[in-house]
Symmetry: C2
Subunit: 502 residues, 2 copies
């Protein structure tokens, strides 16, 4: 047995994943660790999937409701979705098998702001308690305290709420991650006080999670890596977008709204953000801080280059190479990296206070600056809103960065009317594509149109201009629309596979 389980009572609870899965009943509400492919349970999901398959073979029902921090991995969301083991899922996912099951109507998926998800469990929206919490840790102390592995997510909320606790102790995770987590419990209503973070790097809590040990029903040992997807090399389009983003920051400095040593970054995940971070390496910006959701390769590079002083997040989202480096050098990186509960990393209060500039991807923006982050053609969910709403609504400046088209040109990122709206015209301030920066701040809706069309792909600009001309013939000119053709781009895509004119 691993010496990572220092508590004697809990050593007595070690068992196989198959045995532990017997504590999870049909219909249970199960809160799991896991955020963007890090720190999810590695063994229980497969054991749960197997239980579901066995039940189905006997003609029985076995489905659970799964709550996590955010997305997990094929060996978590994927295996459970494939086995038909999931009834309801929140607050975020990105697994292809699960996505297909959701869009086929087989899994009920609720897409919830990440900062709201743990709170809604506390508030009792899903009943007074979760049934089970399954949480991966790097080690259990003699006192039974849990040392988080590569992410914190909603673990505190789930462990506090659940009637039963199952802990996975993953030897693959570095012991030197201890000290990186900053565990602060948001008080429950009606006794809340301010979250005392003034600067991104402030540590306000403990390095461990204390739990009610009497709720622990099983400990499972694992030795399995996180899912760490390699990033694609930065392509030309991403580089152009990154260039425009950094020019935008330079413009903020020139306009007296930012200084070179006062840029606080929030960044979504992906190739474009990675290109932005690569660009920042060679920029004039210094003492960059990140107050964000996940630690990405580019932030590690900025820390190594002395450009970034601190990165606060709730989890890692690293390539295999960088995950290896993090595991080797966690002791050094924990000086400048903090992992917080996602209620804290994504808290509106702290986001507004520190004054960060948010930067998130999108599926489409409409001509007035409403943003669709989640659905293709209004109905097909991709991943979810994640933390983009938490950051966008409360940022000093909110930006959305995206290539101007997708699917080889068949989808335009700028459309007449967004087919699903996750961020409204009241929240989105700046839209950046490879064609430039649409700065919508201070503009009435009609004055935004020329800006958004200017960053659309040139192939789509005439179609957008035709729409605007039609819309402006209407009777009401605050936000002119021609509702009968507002979704014409999407209708063409659904009919012909392309938003372009047939």
């Amino acid at each position: 047995m691993s010496d990572r389980i220092a508590n004697a009572m809990l050593r007595g609870k070690v068992m196989s994943a198959e045995e532990a899965a017997q504590f999870i009943d049909n219909g249970d509400k199960v809160g799991m660790s896991g955020f963007t492919g890090a720190a999810y349970p590695k063994a229980l999901p497969t054991a749960i999937a197997n239980r579901a398959k066995e039940a189905q073979a006997k003609g029985d029902s076995y489905k659970i409701d799964v709550f996590t921090g955010a997305s997990t991995a094929p060996d978590c969301d994927g295996v459970m979705a494939e086995a038909g083991a999931i009834n309801y899922r929140m607050p975020y996912q990105s697994d292809p098998t699960m996505r297909n099951a959701i869009n086929a109507g087989e899994i009920k998926y609720q897409d919830i702001h990440l900062s709201h998800s743990g709170q809604q469990v506390e508030y009792g929206f899903f009943g007074p308690n979760l049934d089970v919490a399954i949480v991966e840790v790097t080690r259990i102390t003699e006192d039974g305290h849990l040392i988080p592995s590569s992410g914190v997510g909603n673990n505190v909320d789930f462990l506090d709420s659940a009637k039963k606790i199952i802990i996975e102790v993953n030897e693959w995770q570095s012991l030197e991650l201890e000290g990186m987590a900053d565990i602060y419990r948001i008080q429950h209503l009606p006794n809340r006080t301010p979250v005392p973070i003034i600067n991104s790097g402030d540590r306000i809590g403990k390095t461990f999670i204390d739990i009610d040990l009497s709720k622990v029903v099983a400990i499972v040992e694992t030795n399995t890596p996180d899912r760490n997807a390699p990033f694609k090399p930065v392509d030309e389009t991403s580089q152009k977008i990154a260039g425009h983003f950094i020019s935008f920051l330079e413009g903020e400095v020139a306009g007296g709204r930012l200084t070179y040593d006062n840029y606080i970054m929030q960044s979504g995940v992906g190739n474009v953000p990675n290109a932005v971070m690569a660009g920042l390496l060679d920029s004039k910006f210094e003492k960059i801080e990140a107050y964000t959701e996940v630690i990405q390769d580019g932030m590690v590079d900025l820390i190594d280059a002395g450009k970034m002083t601190v990165a606060s997040a709730t989890s890692f989202s690293l390539s295999p190479e960088y995950a290896e480096k993090m595991n080797q050098e966690a002791k050094r990186y924990r000086e400048s990296i903090i992992l917080r509960p996602q209620q804290v990393s994504n808290h509106p209060e702290v986001i507004r206070r520190v004054g960060l500039i948010s930067s998130n991807g999108m599926i489409e923006a409409d001509i007035y600056g409403n943003i669709n982050s989640t659905h293709v053609a209004g109905s097909r969910i991709m991943n979810g809103i994640g933390g983009s709403g938490d950051f966008t609504r409360n940022a000093r400046v909110s930006t959305f960065i995206s290539p101007s088209d997708a699917k080889g040109g068949d989808i335009s990122a700028i459309v007449p009317f967004a087919s699903h709206i996750d961020h409204t015209e009241h929240d989105a301030m700046v839209i950046i594509t490879e064609y430039g920066v649409a700065d919508l701040r201070g503009l009435a809706p009609r004055d935004r149109v020329a800006k958004t069309i200017a960053v659309a792909h040139p192939d789509y600009r005439p179609l957008l201009e035709e729409y605007v001309e039609r819309a402006n013939k209407g009777r009401f000119l605050q936000t002119p629309h021609d509702l009968s053709t507002a979704f014409s781009f999407h209708e063409r895509f659904l009919a012909n596979g392309s938003m372009k004119q047939a």
Copy 2:
């Protein structure tokens, strides 16, 4: 000269509104006091309108950009809009003349979250400074401190930002309002600290606004009432909605999510909220607190009845009768009423901390719970989002309350796809009409549909069900839509004047 101007230097600046208006140049950005018909300048707007008319008569241009707290009144927004004196307007309005000018494309209107509006001025989105601030007060102290009148709004931000200050001293406002305001300056970036409000009733600031006296160019004396629109008597529909709302609160208590002495209210303005407050008078709820935007008649009644212990807001929105009472008895009411800057009354940080239940009106909700608060048929702005986004996003529970139809049945409040989205499916939790409560918490989009249709007007339920049937034939079932008929209700309304089938 009024003894309400105790500062000797400022007494030397007293002049007529016409003289003061000479300080306001064509193209100026002008920040005015005023929030929901209270505390707006009473004399300068007419003087500005007259300047515009004179300029037009000479063939000259004279238009200004107008920033306020929220809506004002016919003798402020109305006269300026009528004179063509306004180029750009933010963050909220409700004046019929101004609304028509906006929808005719004559005024540029940007609809901004009320908690963001002052902050965006600070951030420099409109340039480094406003040109002029025009602020109504009840009195100026010997030290030159301003005692707010019947509202605070964005006054602090505007007075801090503007290069020139014009003060209107309104004798109509009670001197005993002094002590009601709690003026706390949100620190400017990068030096922000927590807003230290723990309970709705906490006073954290001063009773006056201190300003840079050297910026004051004019003092104008007035003696004019606020615009205080009488409320209509509570009708049957409002009463039914109020009954459902209070049943919903009772259900929260039964579900262990609320106690009878722990209801913190936020409430939009209008007949339905007034009916709710009347209903609360006879309910089991005690020690009610309001952490909201405006003080309404119903709150005064709740205070008088000993049911409400404290009401925190930024302004009054009272009927003439209640405004009179407030002026008479301000000394008594200031024990339980606090008026804060709107950055504080509407601050996401405080809203989330106190755990209030928000309650706002709407124009329409769609079957999945996206809310349109602002636009008729996607293009015609009514008023604006106001603070509904600040409260909805950060509430413990967010509710929207509305009659199920409007315009004698020609408009349905439940539609297939909201024609403008101000609050997304991630934010709206509960929708209440005279037909009941649609509690969408914890539900995937498809499971919300039966709930929203159940609170639609019966005349529209078959049409909504037909839409859902069509939508469910699509390929993707997370959020099924038939985009070609998603706006069919609105298209019928625009074509035939009714959302009903021809």
